[in-house]
């Protein structure tokens, strides 16, 4: 493999990896405040992408994306209001079942709104054929958008959780919900905010990848399972881990294509997921003790 090819694969791996990392962070946000793994996480990306595509036909692209992010955030809040809040004494099994149900319902609603057609947003800059030469590897400018937006999201979340009152309250809920309540934090609202935040960044990610991977009503599931793989690899709830994990999975997947048939691409990520779960469920960067302490 020449250096240029290597770079080409690596860049495509990092692109996909940064999207997986965003999905994983979406998982983490909700997991940290509720202990729920939201199986409908991938659907947020699909919803964001689809909404932006529809809106972009009668408003400028940046506005359409902004509107899609807002709308999807509200969809996230709605999910919390309508379903998650109503779960009485939820068991883990119950929460898995509800979010799996939600993912199917959202997907089917999308199917009836947008049909089966594969759509995509226009390239943010340039078009399908424009490319940038980076040390011999040719990449689409959209790739830079993906990596850029992902980095911005990560930095934004870092600042949000560290320096804002809401962000800190959410972290307080994550580490000890009873203590957080005693300090006057409205834990219920934190859950709603976590769903909104998670849906919103999911939607944004769904918009930036749309030109490259295209958007279809059922594209959420495979993104979700890869995002989960990344979340597990990085240690559930650990956002730095998610970034590292995302890039690792993205790279492995990209290079696997040069060895395995394309049809098995998804299977590679999942096989990695299974291996991690079997060998070290707390993830590469997760603390073993922490994983053990959370009651499952």
């Amino acid at each position: 493999m020449s250096f240029e090819q290597l770079l080409q694969y690596a860049l495509s791996g990092i692109t996909n990896g940064s999207i997986y990392a965003i999905v994983a962070i979406g998982f983490n946000i909700i997991y940290n405040t509720t202990g729920i793994i939201n199986f409908a996480q991938g659907e947020f990306l699909m919803l964001g992408g689809m909404t932006a595509i529809s809106l972009s036909s009668f408003m400028p692209l940046p506005l359409a994306i902004l509107a899609a992010v807002v709308i999807t955030s509200f969809a996230g809040a709605l999910i919390d209001f309508l379903f998650i809040r109503r779960l009485k004494s939820p068991s883990v099994l119950g929460m898995v079942i509800v979010t799996v149900g939600l993912s199917i319902v959202i997907r089917e609603i999308a199917l009836h709104i947008w049909d089966e057609k594969v759509r995509s947003l226009p390239y943010f800059t340039g078009n399908e054929i424009s490319s940038i030469n980076i040390m011999g590897a040719f990449i689409s400018p959209q790739v830079l958008w993906v990596i850029g937006v992902s980095s911005v999201i990560v930095v934004f979340l870092g600042v949000f959780f560290k320096f804002t009152l809401t962000g800190r309250s959410m972290r307080a809920c994550a580490s000890n919900i009873t203590a957080a309540r005693l300090c006057g934090i409205n834990a219920r609202n934190m859950v709603t905010i976590s769903f909104m935040l998670s849906a919103g960044i999911g939607a944004l990610a769904g918009c930036v990848v749309s030109p490259i991977t295209q958007t279809q009503y059922d594209c959420g599931t495979s993104l979700a399972i890869k995002g989960f793989t990344v979340a597990i690899l990085g240690g559930l709830g650990n956002s730095t881990g998610a970034v590292v994990g995302g890039i690792v999975i993205g790279l492995l997947e990209a290079f696997s294509i040069s060895v395995l048939p394309l049809a098995y691409k998804d299977a590679v990520a999942i096989a990695i997921l299974l291996i991690i779960l079997f060998v070290r469920p707390s993830g590469l960067l997760g603390k073993k003790e922490a994983a053990g302490l959370k009651e499952f």
Binding site: L93, D266, L273
Partner: protein, 368 residues
């Protein structure tokens, strides 16, 4: 005691016969086709009920085991061995009676492996896969277990969809009939509709009786104790890991057998059988049936599969199953067919009986 315990079985048998009688008398025997298919799906659901409802171990990958059964028998029985006649292995198989010779629809002579061979192979293969995948998977709990089984299901789906030998997106068709014994055969031939309906019914009745016995036994109590508290079950001497593994294998075998029979009944198998959505619909039916309730799962399994197969849900099929999951978990976490949901019914009945008794009592008073 025994009579009371098996009376639902008797009721089931009577229902089976009545349904067939109605369909035949009304000249609508084609309804039996979907009932037969629903019955096979119910085998999967019954096995999953024991795994999930009674033992408390979620699986989002059971369609994979069904597909393993279906595809194993499809691959093994559609291979025409006629050109390979003369090779030692094929001749030995023929001499041992492991093959079937017949003419296909175009009158071409075909020699293929007996479905009995593929059934046994499929069961052994599925049991082995479930066993080896189960060892690491069942150590996981909650979300991790759900994701791992989901992942396993997707891998099988991808393999089925991406492999030439499994026919990729087209699946495998022209699967020969499965001649059982005494002239009975599992086949989609409209002339054999009634007997196929009964073959499926017998399998389901057998399945439900076996699992009923299991649930109400030493092993069944061990399984239910795992659901209650793994730690306490362990402290009582229950080998939790072993029982989880065995019940996982058992439920996988149920799914596999269903896959083999339904594949011969349909005469074909496609990748949609391995789809994750299938696994989710099985899960939905177990949930709506009341989780730890074999009869609830059976009734709901027949009903929902039948409606789905007859196309009553139209293009909202998956939507229906997804909504079921949500609605059941939000409003009926103990299942729809639980007594408490019918309290108004029993209350009404009690009121009627009481008023009747009261009147009867007056009558007696009058006599004395």
């Amino acid at each position: 005691m025994a009579m009371k315990k098996y009376s639902p079985v008797l009721a089931l048998v009577i229902c089976v016969i009545i349904l067939q009688a109605i369909a035949s008398l009304a000249g609508r025997e084609y309804y039996l086709t979907q009932l037969t298919m629903s019955a096979y799906y119910c085998l999967v659901i019954l096995g999953l009920t024991v795994l999930m409802g009674y033992t408390g171990q979620i699986s989002l990958g059971h369609a994979a085991f069904f597909a393993m059964g279906g595809y194993t028998t499809a691959v093994m029985t559609t291979r025409n061995l006629i050109e390979m006649q003369g090779s030692a292995a094929v001749d030995l198989a023929v001499r041992l009676g492991l093959t079937v010779t017949e003419k296909n629809a175009y009158g071409v002579e075909i020699l293929h492996l007996s479905p009995w061979v593929s059934l046994v192979t499929a069961v052994c293969l599925t049991a082995a896969v479930a066993f080896f995948i189960g060892i690491p998977i069942l150590k996981l709990k909650g979300h991790y277990l759900a994701m791992a089984t989901l992942g396993f299901g997707i891998i099988i789906y991808r393999i089925v969809l991406g492999s030439r030998i499994f026919g990729e997106a087209d699946g495998i068709s022209d699967i020969p009939q499965f001649a059982l014994a005494g002239g009975l055969a599992v086949s989609g031939d409209p002339a054999l509709r009634v007997q196929n309906y009964y073959i499926a019914a017998v399998l389901v009745v057998a399945g439900v009786v076996l699992l009923m016995n299991l649930v109400d036994s030493r092993v069944g109590r061990a399984l239910r104790s795992i659901h209650g508290s793994e730690e306490a079950a362990n402290a009582m001497g229950v080998n939790v890991a072993r029982y989880k593994l065995l019940v996982f294998v058992l439920s996988a075998v149920f799914a596999c057998i269903a896959g083999v029979f339904l594949t011969h009944f349909n005469g074909g198998v496609g990748p949609s059988e391995a789809d994750v959505m299938k696994s989710v619909s099985y899960l939905a039916i177990v949930a709506v049936g009341g989780m730890a309730n074999l009869w609830g799962a059976l009734v709901m399994g027949i009903l929902l599969n039948y409606l789905s197969l007859r196309g009553y849900f139209g293009s909202y099929d998956e939507f229906v199953f997804g909504s079921i999951l949500i609605v059941i978990m939000l409003f009926f976490p103990n299942g729809l067919l639980k007594m408490e949901n019918f309290r108004w019914l029993s209350d009404a009945a009690a009121r009627v009986i009481n008023s009747y008794r009261a009147r009867g009592g007056e009558g007696k008073d009058g006599l004395s």
